[in-house]
């Protein structure tokens, strides 16, 4: 309830709302830098994403029609909501829903325009959702099995790091993160710099500030995902941070050692190995 | 100068062309040359790096039957000839109707020689740009 939130919580919410995009942007900047170095290039400065965002907001706001932009706003707001929920340690399922709806809004925005590439990208985005959503839910199930609670805050009450009890789920989750960040081999619906058969896919018709909104939402999302990775070692922040770095490098290496594969492949893969890993992990937890 | 040239006519064109493929010839391309009164249309076939050609002389204004029904690959070049020389090619599998390489705004039949005018001034000299 609103009235039950005390001022520390308000501060936490405010701080996380402000900090998340910065962290996300920083990660994106590091991503670009490290990717460049992996390819033997010098690469852009680490704060490049900030320049990009500022630039996007100084561009002319062009669009195909008005409705499209509403969805960009909703996309961002739901992403922010996820951050708020996480900061409040709220129900994990609700967090997942909010996150899913954020994505759905992006999809709807992409589909609301009469632009074939955008629509194809949107459909692929839904496929991506189909691919990773079960894993996210299974992670929640695993958390529930251990804590008997759906609350995000309950994770902190676990005495052992989550990674110890859900190592396989962690691996599966990394695949999901790769999808969410549109990294090879999963960058089917849109992709940041690669040249794709559907051009920019789902974001193709957003320009200027509206693209900026979507980018910011993406930063939020990145921050959220990395926060969740950190939660896998909730008992020690430093180790959690190390875990995060490792995961970050792993995803970048994945990005740089794989080509983009097809949607069909993605679905098949995600519904076989990671799903199998997750279910195995769940069964193990269940039998414990 | 060009070896293995056989003269053919519009009437036996299709038969001749059809007879080439079973012999293991690969269709290479066609060349159209404007010879003033008529077009020389050369059909090039290749077997073991050896070209063998048909030469068809087509009167201006006459239409050329398409061989794209026999050899799909000829489609592209026939459309091109139709564009660039204004030769009407009949029976194309996919007819771009003279809009293959050219658009409405482009000159018509650009590769035809206009009698009398042998050379169009190619490009403007540098002064022209300077004046502008």
């Amino acid at each position: 309830m609103m009235d039950k939130i005390n001022w520390t919580q308000w501060i936490i919410i405010a701080v996380s709302l402000v900090a998340a995009p910065f962290i996300g942007a920083l990660i994106a900047g590091l991503d670009r830098k490290v990717t460049a170095r992996m390819q033997g290039r010098k690469g852009p400065p680490v704060i490049q994403p900030f320049y990009d965002i500022i630039k996007l907001f100084s561009k002319q706001p062009v669009a195909l029609h008005k409705l499209q932009i509403l969805y960009a706003f909703l996309h961002l707001v739901f992403m922010m909501l996820v951050v708020v929920f996480l900061a409040m340690g709220q129900d994990l399922l609700m967090i997942l829903f909010a996150h899913a709806f954020s994505t759905i809004c992006l999809v709807l925005g992409g589909m609301s325009v009469r632009s074939p590439y955008s629509r194809i990208g949107s459909l692929r985005k839904i496929m991506q959702m189909l691919a990773y959503e079960p894993i996210l839910i299974l992670i929640i199930v695993a958390i529930y099995l251990q804590t008997d609670s759906f609350l995000a805050s309950s994770v902190m009450s676990m005495s052992k790091p989550m990674l110890c009890s859900m190592p396989l789920l962690f691996l599966a989750f990394l695949s999901a993160v790769a999808i969410k960040l549109n990294k090879s081999p999963f960058d089917v619906s849109t992709s940041h710099h690669a040249h794709q058969e559907i051009v920019k896919g789902i974001t193709i018709e957003y320009a200027g500030p509206y693209l900026g909104i979507i980018e910011i939402a993406h930063f939020y999302e990145t921050a959220i995902l990395f926060f969740i990775i950190m939660m896998f070692w909730q008992t020690n922040l430093y180790i959690g941070f190390g875990l995060e770095t490792l995961a970050f490098l792993a995803i970048l290496i994945l990005d740089n050692t794989f080509s983009r594969l097809t949607t069909t492949w993605m679905l098949k893969y995600m519904w076989s190995i990671p799903l199998f890993l997750s279910i195995a992990n769940i069964i193990w937890l269940w039998s414990k | 100068m060009i070896n293995n040239v056989e003269n053919i006519t519009v009437d036996n064109l299709l038969d001749k062309v059809a007879s080439k493929m079973p012999l293991g010839f690969r269709f290479v391309t066609m060349t159209c040359v404007d010879c003033g009164e008529h077009f020389d249309i050369l059909y090039h076939f290749d077997k073991n790096y050896e070209l063998s050609n048909f030469r068809l002389s087509l009167k201006k204004g006459e239409s050329l039957p398409s061989i794209s029904g026999l050899i799909f690959a000829a489609l592209v070049v026939e459309n091109e000839i139709q564009d660039l020389f204004g030769v009407k090619v009949t029976g194309l599998v996919l007819d771009y109707e003279g809009r293959f390489l050219l658009t409405e705004t482009a000159p018509e039949r650009p590769l035809c020689r206009v009698p009398g005018v042998m050379m169009v001034e190619a490009g403007k000299p540098a002064e022209a740009a300077e004046v502008k």
């Binding site: 194809i120 040249h195 097809t262 | 040359v33």
Partner: protein, 359 residues
């Protein structure tokens, strides 16, 4: 039931480096039909060549395409030479071979790099182009230009290459080979690359033959055809074998290119080893007259020049049939029934060069 998707694929499309439109009809994401729409790069160069004199044409012809430019001017020169009865001196012939093969290498690296880009392997693209840069340097060092070499002329070549430079080219080749050894396994053995290439865009031998495929496209379908074996320029004295694969899919085409890269390395080494000294061109006074067909093996396949001179400075007709021109009908056969995601890959796998095609 649902209508089919109709989209233009190109002309301005990041996967296609060049403007060509494929009008795709898709059922969900499966291609039902693909119709090429061209003319975005049509310049009308054949006409212009008739209006410049045949010496200037050498430079014009080079600019049919920046990727395979040298071999264009080479084929053109060979045509004019045979019209005028000239035989370039052997050193020129060898230099021509060396530059041709450098061109082939840069073109193949470019093509495979673009292919990697088209299936989203950015890193591989970067690495291949990085390797390519060595070859560009070698070309710039030997000719003075990176792309449009401008060194082939009628009767020989314009520029001699010193022994040191040739040595440095060999040196470059060592680097290139080392890097190729590193990258080629990625192209050939990587799981994800194979996923995208194997079994995609299959062109079987019969169709390849009927539709007149040339170059790596044809060779990948099992048609052993390489004009270099006919021994134009100095190829007759060098060891050239057509590189043939039989699967006819994108993977086979890539493999042909990869093998040709090594082959080119080998040829250049042979040529540098055997290169005689002497003059680099022959003087001439005559004007081209008569009709001639000249053919050579471009990176993408057989190029055919039809030249008709009339004893004046101007040619009466110059016609170029480039390899991509011949490869367009086969690529349409490959596209039918493929996935949208593979359209770019398939198109790039024949290494299309539209500016060659449309001139």
């Amino acid at each position: 039931m649902a209508k089919n998707t109709i989209i233009p694929f190109g002309p301005q499309h990041p996967v296609l480096p060049e403007p060509i439109q494929l009008r795709l009809v898709l059922d969900e994401e499966r291609v039902v039909s693909a119709i090429p729409v061209v003319g975005y790069v049509h310049r009308g160069l054949e006409k212009l060549a008739e209006q410049k004199d045949f010496l200037q044409d050498t430079y014009l012809i080079e600019r049919i395409c920046g990727i395979c430019s040298f071999i264009h001017s080479l084929t053109y020169s060979m045509g004019i030479e045979s019209m005028m009865g000239l035989t370039p001196p052997p050193r020129a012939q060898y230099l021509r071979v060396i530059w041709s093969e450098l061109h082939r290498m840069h073109s193949h690296l470019l093509a495979t790099g673009l292919l990697a880009d088209s299936f989203g392997f950015e890193n591989l693209f970067m690495q291949l182009w990085r390797t390519r840069e060595h070859i560009m340097d070698a070309m710039e060092a030997t000719t003075g230009a990176r792309v449009l070499l401008g060194t082939c002329c009628i009767g020989g070549v314009r520029k001699d290459v010193s022994e040191e430079l040739l040595k440095s080219v060999l040196q470059t080749l060592v680097t290139v080979e080392k890097e190729l050894d590193e990258h080629m396994p990625v192209l050939l053995n990587d799981y994800s690359v194979k996923q995208r290439l194997c079994g995609v865009g299959i062109l079987d031998k019969q169709v390849a033959y009927e539709r007149g495929a040339v170059g790596p496209t044809a060779r990948a379908s099992g048609i052993a055809m390489d004009l270099r074996t006919q021994g134009y320029a100095a190829y007759g004295e060098l060891d050239v074998e057509p590189m043939v694969e039989t699967d006819g899919d994108c993977y086979a085409r890539t493999k042909v290119r990869v093998r040709e890269l090594y082959q080119s390395l080998n040829i250049i080494r042979q040529a540098i080893g055997k290169i005689p000294s002497g003059s680099i061109n022959v003087p001439f006074k005559t004007k081209p007259d008569g009709e001639v067909i000249s053919r050579a093996e471009q990176p993408r396949g057989e190029v055919l020049y039809y030249l008709k001179g009339n004893g004046t400075d101007m040619l009466e007709r110059l016609r170029v049939r480039t390899p991509t021109f011949a490869n367009i009908p086969p690529v349409l056969a490959m596209l039918a029934g493929c996935e949208l995601a593979d359209v770019g890959v398939i198109v790039i796998s024949i290494d299309p060069c539209i500016s060659c095609t449309e001139r």
